[in-house]
């Protein structure tokens, strides 16, 4: 992968919102982060509807028997290079659903996760901070 593409990627991140059986709190916070108040288009971040257009998957919720297969399919359909961000404590490790009868595995054992944003739910500021840290990590890798 050429450095130019990666550099352009850090300035234009098209986000796909993959709901993996969440309780919807994290999803509302993600939508909050995309509102004009925080204005993520300043950094080229746009919400897309199709996984084929996406550079970044925001995964919320706990993978269970129904969604674990689908989240893996979705990851395989994303054109590479792409990143995965786990938003919320559920996606980061399952928290209180860990002992549940329909809990399969933590998300990062199903697909590679590049950034964890814990919180129940995380604030929009926390999500933006996660994205910024990921962008900085990619940029330092280029140099």
């Amino acid at each position: 992968m050429s450095n130019l593409t990666l550099k352009a990627l850090t300035k234009s991140i098209w986000v796909f919102h993959a709901a993996c059986s969440p309780c919807n709190n994290c999803d509302i916070e993600i939508l909050d982060a995309l509102t004009p108040k925080y204005d993520l288009e300043r950094f080229g971040i746009i919400l897309t509807g199709s996984i084929r257009h996406a550079d970044c998957m925001l995964v919320t919720g706990v993978p269970n028997y129904k969604t674990a297969v689908r989240i893996k399919n979705l990851y395989e359909q994303m054109p590479k290079p792409g990143v995965v961000i786990a938003v919320g404590s559920c996606a980061c490790g399952g928290i209180m659903f860990r002992k549940s009868y329909n809990f399969v595995k933590p998300l990062d054992e199903i697909i590679p996760v590049d950034m964890y944003v814990p919180g129940c739910p995380p604030k929009p500021e926390a999500i933006i901070m996660g994205v910024v840290k990921l962008v900085e990590a990619v940029r330092s890798k280029i140099k």
Partner: protein, 306 residues
């Protein structure tokens, strides 16, 4: 060849299209009380898309799937180089180039329909069928408004003759029939660009990305690029057909020309930001009931010589 590849054609319309796309996004952001993207944002988007992986659906023809975005870009670039008639000696004007331009401006729409049709995805099929309905709605009005131009300028289908007529007499927009047909083609261009009141084919909230849903990587980038170029080329075409005037000096002329283009672009952006998306049936009704009526009245007035 140079006039196609570099100056009024491909490269020039890509650069100007990116600037137009930036203006569009920035003004949209300011209207929504945001700060908006940086100047190079369209360039970043395109470079990123060109570096990404292309995924081709299993049950489609890879050749057709990949050739359509290129056709779309080439058609828009050709219209762009036909726009260069105003620049002296860059491209010769031939008899019937107005008709050629009208046909070339249909090509991106046809490409979108085919792209939706062969993507083998239910939502893209839906997008393709909506694009066909949009196409049927606006194309008649556009041709009728072009007929007004032809009648007013003494039956000429040569772009240079139309420009000469406007220089010798007055810009078409200052006559009543010319103004009416300018309104018609303004709405048609808005529909051809697929921006908000008429973006039923790409309705993000209803059918995700419509016709483009299966496209990724460079193929998607080509489609986005042709959209950006259309943002520059089509309003430019309108300004040239309806609002062309000349003072003799090329420098002053081009400044006035760019200002007129920016006025048309701003009108398009304001229309985009102050209107909700129309339903499919509302689009068809809008074009067939009102726009075609206006166009027919304009032809009648042009026949009377008003």
């Amino acid at each position: 060849m140079i006039s196609f590849l570099i100056f009024p054609g491909l490269l020039f319309s890509v650069i100007c299209g990116m600037i137009a796309s930036f203006i569009d996004r920035k003004i949209t952001a300011r209207i929504q009380w945001r700060k908006g993207p940086p100047l190079l944002q369209p360039l970043y988007d395109i470079i990123k898309l060109f570096g990404k992986e292309i995924i081709i659906p299993k049950s489609t023809s890879p050749f057709a799937f990949l050739i359509l975005p290129f056709l779309s870009v080439i058609a828009v670039a050709l219209v762009g180089s036909l726009n260069g008639v105003i620049v002296k000696n860059s491209i010769p004007s031939f008899s019937g180039d107005l008709i050629v331009a009208i046909y070339l401006m249909m090509v991106p729409g046809v490409c979108m329909i085919l792209a939706g049709g062969i993507s083998s995805n239910p939502l893209s099929m839906l997008g393709a069928s909506r694009e066909i309905k949009l196409f049927i709605s606006y194309e008649i009005g556009f041709i009728l408004s072009m007929i007004v131009v032809i009648i007013k300028t003494g039956g000429s289908i040569r772009l240079l003759d139309i420009l000469d007529w406007q220089v010798n007499n007055l810009p078409l927009i200052y006559t009543l029939s010319g103004f009416l047909s300018f309104i018609v083609s303004f709405f048609v261009v808005s529909a051809k660009l697929g921006i908000v009141p008429f973006d039923i084919a790409e309705a993000e909230q209803e059918i995700i990305a419509g016709t483009l849903i299966e496209y990724s990587g460079a193929a998607l980038g080509m489609f986005k690029l042709s959209r950006m170029m259309m943002m520059f080329v089509y309003p430019m075409f309108l300004v040239r057909l309806f609002w062309y005037s000349s003072t003799g000096s090329i420098f002053v002329d081009s400044i006035i020309f760019v200002l007129k283009y920016i006025v048309v672009l701003l009108l398009l952006i304001v229309l985009r930001n102050t209107n909700p998306r129309l339903r499919v049936d509302q689009v068809v009704r809008f074009f067939w009931k009102y726009i075609i009526l206006i166009a027919v009245v304009a032809i009648y007035l042009a026949g009377k010589g008003v």
